[in-house]
Amino acid sequence: MKASGALELGEAPKGSTPKSVANRGISILDFILRLIAIIGTLGSAIAMGTTDETLPFVTQFNRFRAKYDDLPMFTFFVVANSIVSAYLVLSLALSIFHILRSGAKGSRIILIFFDTAMLVLLTAGASAAAAIVYLAHKGNAKANWFAICQQFNSFCERISGALIGSFGGILVFVLLILLSAVALSRR
C-alpha cells in the first residue's frame, strides 16, 4: 500500500499547531503583564520617594516636616520598588526571547525563580509600608502612638496612594508566575 503520504502523520510543521500558538500567546501576555507591572512599581517608587510636606507653623521643639525617609519602612518600600522595577525592565529581554523561541525550558525556570524572589521582596516592602500607613491613619492607643495623618494630610494621601501601584504589581507578579508555570507544563 502506498503509505508514504499517510506516513507524514505526527510530523506537523512547527509553529502552527494550536499548542504552539497558545504558548506564544502565553509569552505575549507575559510581556504585556511585565509592562503593566513596571508602570505600577515605578509609579509607586516615585510617588513615595517624592513625599515632602512641611506644615506652615513651627515651634522650637517639634518637627513639622514629613518625608519618606523619616520612616525606615518607607525607605525600604522605595528601595524595594526600585529594585523590582529595574528587574522587570531587565526581564523584558528574557520575555521577548520566550516569545521568539517558545521551547526554552531552562530560562523559564530561571525566570520563575527570580519572579518569585522579586514577588517576595515586593510583598515585603508593600506590606511593611502598609502596616505603617495603617498606623499613621489610626494610631494606637495602647502603645501611645499618635496618628500622624491628622496633621500631615497630603503626606498621608501620597503614601496611601503609593501602596496601590505596589499591590497591583504584586497581583501581576502572581499572574506572571502562574503563566510561566502553565507554559512549562504545556511543553
Partner: protein, 216 residues
C-alpha cells in the same frame, strides 16, 4: 510496494485498539528508526520519573518543615500576653497580640497558611506516587504562590511593627515599647523570624514545583 527496503513496520496495538475503539488500519507511525511511541501504558521515561520523584520527596519534606515554622510562629505570637507588675490610673501596662492589628493579621494569616500546608500534604503525596502527573503539581504551584504572598505580607507587616517597637520613631513621636515589655517583644520577634523562615521554604517549594513541571 517497497522493494529493496526491508522496513519492518511495527504496528503496536494501542490500548484503544485492544479495547476495540480504534480501527486497526490507523496509519502506523513509522518515524525513521526510532521505535513507535504509540503505547500509552504507564511506562514513563525512567530518567525523568526518578528525578521527579526525588523532587517530590524533597517537596514533601520542605512542606513538613514549613508547617513547623508557621505553626511555631502562630503559637508564639498568639500566646503573647504580658502584664507589667505596676499600674497607674491612666495607663494600661498590658501587652497582648490583639492590641495591634498587624499582629492580629499575622496570627490569622499564619493560621491560614498552616491549614493550607496541612491540606496540601495529600497532593504532595500524590505527586510522589505519580511523578508525571501535571494536574496536582500545577495546583500546588498556583496555591503555593498565593500563600507565599500571604505569608510574606503577614511577616513583613509584623516585622515593621516589631522594628517600631524596638526602635521607636522620633519624627512621629512614637515610643519604643520594647524597653518596658521585654518578654512580649522577645516572643513577637521570634514569631516574625519563624514566619520569614517559612517564606524562604515556600520560595524553595515554588521553584521545586517549577522544576518538576518540566516535560523531558
Amino acid at each position: 510496494m517497497m522493494n529493496g527496503d526491508s522496513t519492518t513496520i511495527n504496528i503496536t496495538e494501542t490500548r484503544k485498539e485492544t479495547k476495540g475503539e480504534a480501527p486497526l488500519f490507523a496509519a502506523p507511525r513509522v518515524v525513521a528508526s526510532t521505535s513507535v511511541v504509540a503505547n500509552t501504558s504507564a511506562v514513563e521515561h525512567p530518567k525523568g520519573g526518578r528525578y521527579k520523584k526525588g523532587i517530590a520527596i524533597f517537596d514533601f519534606i520542605l512542606r513538613l518543615c514549613a508547617i513547623a515554622a508557621t505553626l511555631a510562629a502562630t503559637v508564639s505570637m498568639g500566646t503573647t500576653d504580658q502584664t507589667l507588675p505596676f499600674f497607674t490610673q491612666f495607663f494600661q501596662f498590658q501587652a497582648s497580640y490583639d492590641d495591634l492589628p498587624a499582629f492580629q493579621f499575622f496570627v490569622i494569616a499564619n493560621a491560614i497558611v498552616t491549614g493550607y500546608l496541612v491540606l496540601s500534604i495529600p497532593f504532595s503525596i500524590v505527586c510522589i506516587v505519580r511523578p508525571h502527573a501535571v494536574g496536582p503539581r500545577l495546583l500546588l504551584i498556583i496555591c503555593d504562590t498565593v500563600m507565599v504572598t500571604l505569608t510574606t505580607a503577614a511577616a513583613a507587616s509584623a516585622a515593621a511593627i516589631v522594628y517600631l517597637a524596638h526602635n521607636g520613631n522620633s519624627s512621629a513621636n512614637w515610643n519604643s515599647i520594647c524597653q518596658q515589655f521585654t518578654d512580649f517583644c522577645q516572643s513577637v520577634s521570634g514569631a516574625v523570624v519563624g514566619s520569614f523562615v517559612a517564606v524562604v521554604l515556600f520560595l524553595f517549594l515554588v521553584v521545586l514545583s517549577a522544576f518538576a513541571l518540566r516535560k523531558y
